[in-house]
Structure formats: C-alpha cells, structure tokens
Amino acid sequence: MAGQTDQLIKPGSGHGLLDVYGDRFLLKLLVRKEIKVRYRGSVLGLLWSYVKPLVQFLIYFVALGIFLNLQRGTPNYAIYLFSGIVLVNFFTESLSNATRSIVDNRDLIRKIYLPRELFPVATVWVSAAHFLPQLVVLVGACLVVGWAPTLLQLAAVVLIFFMVAVLGTGLGLLFGAMNVYFRDSENIVDMIVMVVTWASPVLYLWTMVQKVMGDWFWIYQLNPMTVAVEVFHWAFWEPTLKPDQLVNDATPPGMLTLWLPIAMLITLAVLFVGQLTFRRLAVHFAQEL
C-alpha cells in the first residue's frame, strides 16, 4: 500500500485483461454469483445445463441421423454429433452472454470503477462451468463405446477448450463494447450464433463441404470454430471407431500442422482486436449506458 500512496495516478485507467488477472477474487465472486443467480427458483437448477443440450442433441439425432439417415454413412454418429454440439454450445453461450454483459451490469458500471473486462470474462467462465459437466457426459458416452485416445488427442482437447474460450472472450469484448452504443450488436450476435452451428461440421461431414466447394474449401477452414470442431471429432469420435469402421478421411489433410496453427493465430488476432476496441470504447461506457 505504501508504494501506491506516494504517487499520483489517473483514476479509471487500467491495463485491460491484465487487470482481470489482478482481480481474480472479484472474478471468482462474479462467476459464483452468476451461477447461483442463473437458475434461482428453478427446481432442476444446474441440471438445466444438461437438459437443454440433451434435447438439442435428440432433435438433431432424430432429424438428421435417422430421418436423413446420416448415421448410416457415419459410424457412431451420436458421438460425432454430441462432441460438436457441446463445443459449439460453449462458444455460443460465451459469446451471447458476453455481448450482453456490459449492458446487463450497467448499474455497476455507471457508479463504480472496475476493470470492465471483468464482466465479459466472467460470463465466459460461467459458460465453461456449464460446458465441463457436458464434457464429462461426452467422455462417459465415449468410454461406453470403447474410446481409446492418445495423449496427443487429450492435449488437443485442452488446447481447443482454451482456444474457444479465448475466441469467445475476444468476440465478446468486441460485441459487448459495441452493444453499449448500438443495441443492434445483440442481434448480430444472435445471427452469428445461428450460423455457427451450421458453418462448422457439427451435423454433417467436412467431406460434403469439400465436394461442393472444391478449390475454395480453404475458406471454410479459416473459421476457427470449424477447426475446433474437427479437432474435437478427431479426439473424441475417431478413437471410438472399430478397425472395420475406419473412415479414411476423418479429418481434413494438414489439420494439426496447418489449420490448427492458423485457427490459433486468427483467435489471437480476434482477441487483440476485441481488447483494443473494448479499451477505446470503454472510456465512455459510464455516460453512454
């Protein structure tokens, strides 16, 4: 404290996301509050974060797997589907809640100075708290059908978790800050959320896209969520296949050596742009809200 007291500082200036690290205790409390408050007064409570993806999974499985018969060409289609759904849900929940986080906390932001990045970051943590139990369900299902992943595949799962969290934070900062000025931001994000489930190979196979796009397939691969979902398939779905079920092209060529590094670079760039925009716009949050 003594060190701080003998110099004059400019109030309300921070170091962006670095301040969030310094305020870990407050971040923890905000996340805990959010989780407590989210399902208050509901009988099922946190169970809702299982029920919702489960219903979503069943709809897709019945409609696409059975009616459109995708499960015939794709062994263990249920695993294929569920591993993509949980990951995309993590992303969409992070993004849409982070986008609303600044406006939702306007009472606080208008009155007390805090590193404002805390709010979007906290929402991503809350989404992670909903994602992890679903991941446990996924792992359970995989084990039932004989999942035998390599260490590399397990490491890839952890990496993808962080990559998607960073991507959600970056976009959340960007749209959350814009939402203060233009509430259109929420609608844009709703649209992104709708598109993202279909713009990654969650419900179908990447080979179907390649057949249609041909030489332009690389554009599809530039979407970091596409790569994230493909890596999840590689880590969860592929190791459950029996030798006689093996699909030759479970993942696009160069996925780990080319596309994953590109996706990570894009993700970091998004975080950078998001943080930069957020800091520029955050100066006037209190008066614009």
Partner: protein, 250 residues
C-alpha cells in the same frame, strides 16, 4: 513523501461534456453518415468547465451546489467512472466511493454473499473481508438476517449494510455522495460519528450533500459549484451561507 507530498486529489482545468444522444440504432447512424453527416445527431451539454481543484490529504471537503451543478459528475471523474474531455484528474492512494450505496448489491444473494461481492467490488481483498466481516455485520446491526437474501431486507437494513461495507473498505480517499441520509436518526448519528472518526484518522473526505447543516458539521472546507464551474472555495460555513443567499435570490 514526494515533493507534491500531501496532495490527495488534483483537478486541472477539467471539462466534461455530455452527449445527449437521441438515437440508439445503427440504421439511423448509417443514414446520418450517408447523408454526409448533416445535422446534429445529438445535443451536447457542458456539465463541467474549467474546474481546477486541489485537495490535500486529510482534508474534509464538502461539494455543494444546486441540482445539475455538476457535483456528481465531478465525483465520478475523481472515482474514475467517467473520464474528462479536457484537463486532467489525478488522485493519490486508493479512492473509494460511497456513491449510491448498494449499487453492487444483488437482490437474490444473501447478505453474507453481498458483503463479499460488494467488498471485492470496492477493492477489498479476500483476507481483508474475512478479517472485517464481523465488524461489518455488527456495525450494520443486521444480526441474524445476514444469511437472508437482501431482497427481503427493509430499505433501512439494505442501506445500513451497504454503508457498513463501504466504511470498512479503508481507502485513503473517501467520496461520499448523498448517502448521509441513511436510515433512522440513531443510525445516522452513528454514520456521522464514523465519518468523523475516519477524518480524525487522516482520511481525505469528499462529500456531496444537499443537507447543508450536516456537511457543515462534518467538513471544514466548502466548494460551491454553479453551472459546472467553481464559484466559491473556502471555509465551509461561509460557503453554506453563500449558497443559501444564492438560493434565496432565485
């Protein structure tokens, strides 16, 4: 101590302008851009102009003025919630605001959870809150209700708990906005005693209130704002007198 040693707050030629925006949609903003930025999308309002002020450590300053004179804006600039459009604001040490107590409260959480959440929002560490928890509850006179959700609190209990947390945050500079009217008379006396105690401990106090008799007892120095400018700065009783004279003349 550094050469400027004892200064707690310095405002130099501060200007703050508010934009009263009428539109909140992208469409209207785009139309405005396409039309070559013709017309004003918004109205501007100058809340503070050429405000220069220096507060020494340990001083107790009352900021006075009629509604809309810019008192709260100045307080928000000092706390860092707002940034000035011109000039500079600098502070020394941790600044905490008793600005609208209970802003960080969440209705669905218990009093206990709110003490931790609000304490952390006001900049306390986990250890500090643990240490002061009992003292916070005792001062607030909430007692056994501490584990009840705050939405069931009476407004008095709510304010008492919020005030109690705020005075336990122990910053160097206290910003107090219109909250001395907390609770019933005995609690109010307790608050004032607490604030005087803080000032005796050498804390810097910066108080905004319309209760002129009250600020005159708590503070030594008075600053009078009118239409965003400082019109008087001096001994608190003189400033109170001046404000009363001006109000009567209106």
């Amino acid at each position: 101590m550094t050469p400027q040693g004892h200064v707690a707050i310095i405002c130099t030629d501060v200007r703050k302008q508010f934009v009263l925006r009428h539109t909140r949609s992208l469409k209207e903003a785009l139309v405005w851009l396409v039309k070559g930025r013709k017309g004003d999308l918004s109205k501007k309002f100058l809340a503070l102009n050429h405000v220069s002020l220096e507060v020494k450590q340990g001083e107790t300053v009352a900021l006075m003025g009629l509604n809309g004179s810019g008192k709260s804006t100045l307080l928000k600039l000092i706390s860092g919630v707002l940034q000035p459009d011109g000039g500079t604001v600098r502070t020394r040490g941790r600044v905490a605001g008793l600005i609208e107590v209970g802003a960080g409260f969440h209705h669905d959480l218990s009093g206990r959870d709110n003490v931790y959440l609000n304490g952390a929002i006001l900049g306390m560490t986990e250890k500090q809150i643990d240490e002061k928890f009992d003292s916070i509850v005792e001062f607030s006179e909430i007692g056994e209700f501490i584990d009840t959700e705050v939405k069931f609190y009476s407004s008095g209990m709510y304010l008492r708990l919020a005030f109690s947390i705020a005075v336990h945050t122990d910053p160097e500079v206290f910003l107090i906005d219109e909250i001395l009217a907390v609770g019933d008379e005995p609690f109010q006396r307790k608050c004032i005693a607490k604030i005087k105690e803080l000032s005796d401990m050498g804390k810097t106090l910066f108080v905004v209130s319309h209760d002129l008799d009250l600020v005159a007892t708590v503070c030594e120095r008075g600053v009078l704002l009118e239409h965003g400018q400082i019109v008087m700065d001096g001994e608190v009783h003189d400033v109170v007198g001046e404000l009363r004279r001006r109000s009567l003349a209106m």
